[in-house]
Amino acid sequence: MKAEIKRTASRFRHTIGKYRVQRGKQCKSCAGCVVTCPHGVHFKAGTRMGTPRDYLCVGPEVCRSKNCFCVEKCPNSALNVVINPQIKALGDFRWTADLLMSTWYQAETGRLPDVDMEYRTGNSGGGFDKLRFRFPEKPPQVIPAEDIDTSIELNKRGDKSHRITIGIPLYQGGMSFGSVSDSTMVSRARAAMLWDTFGCTGEGGYPEFLYPFDRQMITQVATGLFGVKEETIQRVRIVEFKYAQGAKPGLGGHLLGDKVTERVAKMREAVQGSALFSPFPFHSVYSVEDHKKHVDWIKAINPKVLVSVKVSTPADVDMVAIGSYYAGAHIVHLDGSYGGTGAAPDIAKKNIAMPIEYAIPKVHRFLVEEGVRDKVTLIASGGIRTAHDVLKAIALGADGVVEGTAGMVALECTRCSSCESGRGCPRGIATTDPELAEFITVDWGAQRVYNLYASWRSQIVGVLQQLGMRSIRELVGRTDCLRHLDYN
């Protein structure tokens, strides 16, 4: 399948945009505005004017400067442009309205919006939002975009396991069957395949509809061991041990009763309607030699598989990382504290684990000191929202990242935080209700996620060009390319 960016509009009639374009009764349907506006806000539907596609509007300032402001050009003064009052209720400090809307835009178009929206950082007052790139005044060398390599290696041990390179420095976080709809899972998996990277089954079993994506899937072995079978471990090229989630370390996974429908119960071989808990530890792993045995076990089932160890970020995360490396892991996956969907308890999300921007350099440096940094792939996750977050994580010392929520936003998630409330995801993403799930078709969803990654990749390429780097691998650990707004 040849993959390319295709414009993939919102599923909803009224897409949320930054501006609201109002058309008054004075309008004579002269269609002058259709000509004036280069962004396609105005269009004629039959003999009358259609309701403006105001989410495409880039705002008065830009239009004025380019002399294409429809409000001023309308001969009947029938038009008005205001800030959309909806955006005041949209988003939060980490995922601001601007970030949500710009992500939606990128998912629709595969490129950055023309609108004056902040697409790089949120407004959390910390973390990646306080970091900026320090670009040289002039790039040291001019590198054409097509010469820039964004691929990363996932097996750096050089052992007999699979050699795997992914085209972009990110793969997808696990979202279980039962926590999101089938079409959400397939959409994400297909997008991952198109970008030659990996999707992840999560811990809820390996549904048959993901079998076509076997080569590009990671399957999770988590503490509940739901749906984990030898067969599923043998299907894949990467197995991920989920020891903990940064969003809620020490709490285990949970799927509340409402979401345990007949199908989910069948996949996990549990009881319909009863909440499912994954214990917070692996009951067979209470120390590092148990951990090694655990890794050996997976390799006994599938000798060529790559083993990723997903851990949260406690204070001694560096010891955990080195222990995982010596236990035979190929990938150490640090899950920091910013991530987590609406199903993770707020008190845990905000208080337990170490922020990822502290954990990455701590682990990176420790692995360098121990002399094994080039033998292990370090992956970061937990609040990677934008292409700039990806780049910052890598500059801090990661090889690549895992993306979770951003892909949901590409499917028009509004971050309403109702994920845990059973089947009722208002946008049909985190639902197991078959009717709600019909909101999303796979073609639409896959293309949206594909588009988002395309936009991210071009931003990554752009930043590397500015830094004069030919490969994303050159950026790993280059903290000198970053500055912190509070400490410079």
């Binding site: 808990f277 067979s284 050996d296 001694d316 707020d346």
Partner: protein
């Protein structure tokens, strides 16, 4: 602090004295991160002193529990001549052993002596512990071990007098002041030459009487090689393989064992509350200097033992408190004391997974002890074993194969040792039954050293009877009943009547002497070589003898087993390999010939795999060979010679209904994990993590199973003849159907989610019985002694054989008792029938018989089913979470 020195107790005086010492030698302040690591531990105590080489093999077999970056051993109870001292000096003098990290640094060695030895101590003898000339001659040693100076010392009379007066120690029991002086002197030395230096120079390895510790950067057994301890004899040996997570290690300061006063402690696990325990110790003026939880543990032990003079039972209570239903079942006077101990010491009680092995000399009571203590939640693996006889031995290890390796090694040297123990068992942490602790004590009895075993409460674990041991080295002679026996054997063998033959043998074994029995087994082996059918019958008969319990007369069951197992090994070993011609059903393969493996040809059906030389995991492990053989078309396997190799039956993938694996020997962790259809028969005890995520198939274990048995299992039919350790069937879903004839330590079927048993779901039948050595079945005092049964379960059921209704609501934490119906009986009956067929546990005579009277099933079994808990149902309706979040 109390007002006057007169009112101070001995403990308070010691603590006050230490406070002054700390002021004089302040340890570095500031929080140090604990150096983490996992490990493997092993130890044994013996009524006779034995050489260090016997700790060599068990240590080597636990390499996969360490990473060669820290190993250590400790020994207690020596032969004075080997140390060049008299018995009197060995008993009365401290054996001070100081590690000089850089042997080239003569100045440091001199400084240590001039500051901490010559001014204070009288030396009866000193020497540098002999080593091999060059550490590089020992493969695997990459870092030069420290030179260790050994001094037999007493504190100088006038020094001790000063020390006593200054600290008001006049009324301390004899010897206690001198102990404290030695303890403080070691602390000062370590502070001065180890912990406050950037460049570490020297530290005290141990300083107890008649005991020592040696440790290196490398695997533990290399300690014995480097310091030439192979023939050095001692009553107690313990060893520790360390798995430090930090990469570069250049000195063994952080390796185990750690020493308190007269004890050495090794530890497997990791405290969650390391800092809190350290803080607790510091408040009592015990300052850890080596940044490991193991040192903190031994300091805690020293504090409770030597300073507070607690009896061992109270020390154990302070470390692993008795909780929940177990606490409720203690006698009320004990509850009172335990409550006080917990109130005083809970902050210093290590939380999280840990298992201690302690070797100690008690010079005041003149005895040596080996102690194993598990944490309350039993999160680390542990096996105890005991052998009685002319020579006695008690063992405690992380994995059973270390016990086998020790006994193998001893039996080779001294035929009085049997390679099989009389008893193997697990301790139940923080329990009212055994307190999670067993103590092997070696002390003189009528002039000879004898070993005894008791639990936390002092209940003696005895081996019944005065059965004879077998001299396995004696030649076998033809018994007088030869003609009759041969006739019967030949007849039964020819007609493949294995069951009858087993009955015949079981009836006669009590009458026969060892020689006759050995001769019979040799005959069976000889006949087995004749044809494949004879071989099959012989294997079946010997396997039945191995699996079933029967009366052995004046012979020890352990020796009978050893003879049976030896015969099986002979039969297996005689099977032709791929390099020999054969037209038969059996083919043999081992590590050396593994590359000859090919698809089965002609009549070939059964692959006999000798696993001894295989790696325990990885590319060269026997589990991989089994997979390769299966992919080539082999379906039937006999696998023997195990020494703890892991993952048997793993990796075969889905739909393996035609496969059968028979496992002999000390099989390893994760056996039968994930199997989907195949049958595995484990002819002996099995280890940890058995049947994890098992999907379908059959597993029969003719013995006990270890920790987290069937974790996350989805199905399968499983029969366990004995007990399960901690956390069996946790998080199991689907339709696992399990019979456990013994009991479980605790946490059985936590978060069980196995649907409706009457509608395809799963269940556990818990019979709560034990097989005695004579083959009869006895009820345990309760089918389930633990405090947590079926906690948070949402599906499935437990059918517990509990005719005396000993189970109580308090144990359930989420389940509830339900009526045991006829439908329930019909559901479990087929499994009990198979259970009867496998283990000879009769439904009529054993299960449904209480105090000799037949009972109805509903009078014998009780059902525990899941209750719908509100916490497990849907999300509580809350105000709009958007509003609640992100304020």
């Amino acid at each position: 602090m109390r007002s006057t020195s007169k009112a101070l107790s001995a403990a308070e005086k010691i603590l006050a004295s230490r406070e002054r010492m700390i002021a004089q030698y302040p340890p570095l302040s500031g929080v140090k991160v604990e150096e983490e690591g996992g490990c493997g531990v092993t130890g044994f105590a013996c009524s006779i002193p034995v050489g260090g080489k016997h700790i060599f093999e068990p240590s080597r077999q636990m390499h996969n529990r360490g990473n060669g970056k820290g190993g250590g051993i400790a020994a207690v109870g020596f032969v004075p001549e080997a140390l060049g001292v008299s018995q009197e000096i060995l008993d009365s003098h401290y054996m001070l052993q100081i590690a000089l990290i850089d042997p080239e640094d003569q100045a440091a060695a001199k400084a240590v002596e001039s500051e901490f030895i010559h001014p204070w101590l009288d030396i009866a003898r000193s020497e540098k512990i002999p080593t091999v000339a060059d550490y590089r001659d020992i493969p695997g040693l990459d870092v030069r071990p420290p030179d260790v100076m050994r001094y037999f010392v007493r504190v100088k009379k006038d020094v001790l007098k000063d020390f006593t007066v200054k600290n008001h120690f006049e009324n301390l029991k004899p010897g206690r002041a001198e102990d404290e002086f030695m303890s403080q002197n070691a602390f000062k030395l370590n502070t001065r030459f180890y912990s406050t230096l950037g460049d570490k120079k020297a530290f005290v390895m141990s300083h107890g009487k008649n005991m020592m510790i040696l440790k290196i950067v490398g695997y533990a057994e290399l300690v014995a090689s480097y310091y030439q301890l192979e023939e050095f004899k001692s009553h107690i040996w313990i060893a520790h393989q360390r798995y430090p997570t930090k990469g570069r290690v250049w000195h063994p300061g952080g390796a185990h064992p750690f020493s308190g006063m007269h004890e050495a402690l090794v530890h497997n696990g990791d405290f969650a509350n390391y800092h809190s325990v350290c803080e607790y110790l510091k408040q009592q003026n015990f300052f850890p200097l080596f940044h490991t939880d193991t040192e903190a543990s031994v300091l805690m032990l020293d504090l409770l033992n030597r300073v507070h003079e607690y009896p061992l039972e109270y020390i154990i209570e302070a470390l692993a408190p008795t909780t929940e239903a177990d606490f409720d079942q203690l006698p009320s006077d004990k509850q009172k004391i335990y409550r006080a101990i917990q109130a005083a010491h809970i902050h210093g009680s290590p939380d999280g997974p840990w298992f201690f092995i302690i070797a100690r000399n008690d010079p005041y009571q003149k005895m040596f002890q080996l102690i194993g203590i598990t944490d309350t939640a039993m999160l680390r693996p542990q096996v105890f074993a005991l052998q009685d006889g002319e020579v006695q031995i008690g063992l405690v290890c992380s994995e059973k194969q270390a016990i086998d390796a020790t006994l193998d090694s001893l039996a080779k040297e001294d035929p009085r040792f049997c390679p099989v123990c009389d008893r193997y068992w697990n301790a139940r942490g923080g329990s009212h039954t055994d307190g999670g602790t067993f103590v092997f004590t070696v002390k003189p009895e009528n002039g000879v050293m004898r070993l005894s075993c008791s639990d936390k409460f002092g209940n003696v674990k005895a081996i019944s009877g005065n059965q004879k041991i077998c001299d396995a080295t004696a030649p076998i002679s033809v018994p007088s009943q030869e003609a009759e026996i041969t006739r019967t054997l030949n007849q039964l063998l020819d007609q493949c009547r294995a069951e009858e033959m087993f009955s015949y043998l079981a009836e006669n074994i009590p009458i026969w002497d060892y020689n006759t029995f050995r001769w019979v087994c040799a005959e069976i082996v000889r006949v087995a070589a004749g044809s494949d059918t004879c071989k099959a019958t012989a294997i079946e008969v010997l396997t039945l003898l191995n699996d079933r319990r029967f009366f052995t007369g004046d012979k020890k069951r352990a020796w009978v087993l050893w003879i049976i197992r030896g015969s099986l090994r002979e039969i297996f070993g005689a099977v032709p390999g791929f390099d020999r011609a054969s037209g038969g059903r059996y083919r043999y393969i081992d590590f050396k010939t593994r590359n000859l493996l090919r698809a089965p040809e002609a009549n070939e059906e059964i692959l006999v795999v000798y696993t001894r030389e295989f790696e325990p995991e990885g590319e060269d492990c026997d589990a991989r060979l089994l997979c390769e053989a299966y992919f080539l078309g082999w379906k039937r396997f006999i696998v023997y010679g195990y020494r703890g190799q892991r993952f048997t039956g793993n990796g075969f993938g889905p739909a393996t209904q035609a496969v059968r694996i028979d496992v002999y020997g000390s099989s390893g962790d994760y056996l039968a994990s994930g199997i989907d259809g195949m049958a595995i028969y484990v002819h002996g005890n099995a280890q940890d993590q058995l049947g994890q995520i098992m999907k379908d198939g059959k597993l029969a274990v003719f013995g006990d199973v270890g920790q987290t048995f069937m974790y996350g299992a989805k199905g399968g039919e499983v029969y366990v003849m004995g007990n399960a350790a901690g956390r069996p069937l946790i998080n199991a879903v689907g339709r696992p159907r399990v019979v456990i004839n013994g009991t479980a330590l605790d946490y059985l079927a936590e978060s069980f989610m196995a649907g409706d048993p009457h509608n395809g779901g799963g269940f556990v039948i818990l019979n709560g019985m034990t097989l005695s050595d004579d083959g009869s079945l006895k009820e345990l005092p309760t089918p389930y002694p633990g405090s947590n049964l079926f906690s948070l379960a949402s599906g499935g059921a437990i059918f517990a054989r509990d005719p005396h209704c000993t189970l109580i609501e308090d144990q359930l934490n989420g389940g509830e008792f339900a009526e045991f119906t006829d439908a329930d009986w019909n559901l479990i009956l087929p499994y009990l029938k198979e259970n009867e067929r496998l283990f000879g546990i009769s439904i009529e005579k054993d299960i449904l018989c209480v105090n000799g009277r037949p009972r109805k099933p509903s009078e014998v079994y009780r059902k525990v089913k899941a209750v719908p808990l509100t916490v497990l149902n849907g999300a509580p309706k809350q105000p709009n979470p958007v509003m609640a979040a992100d304020i």
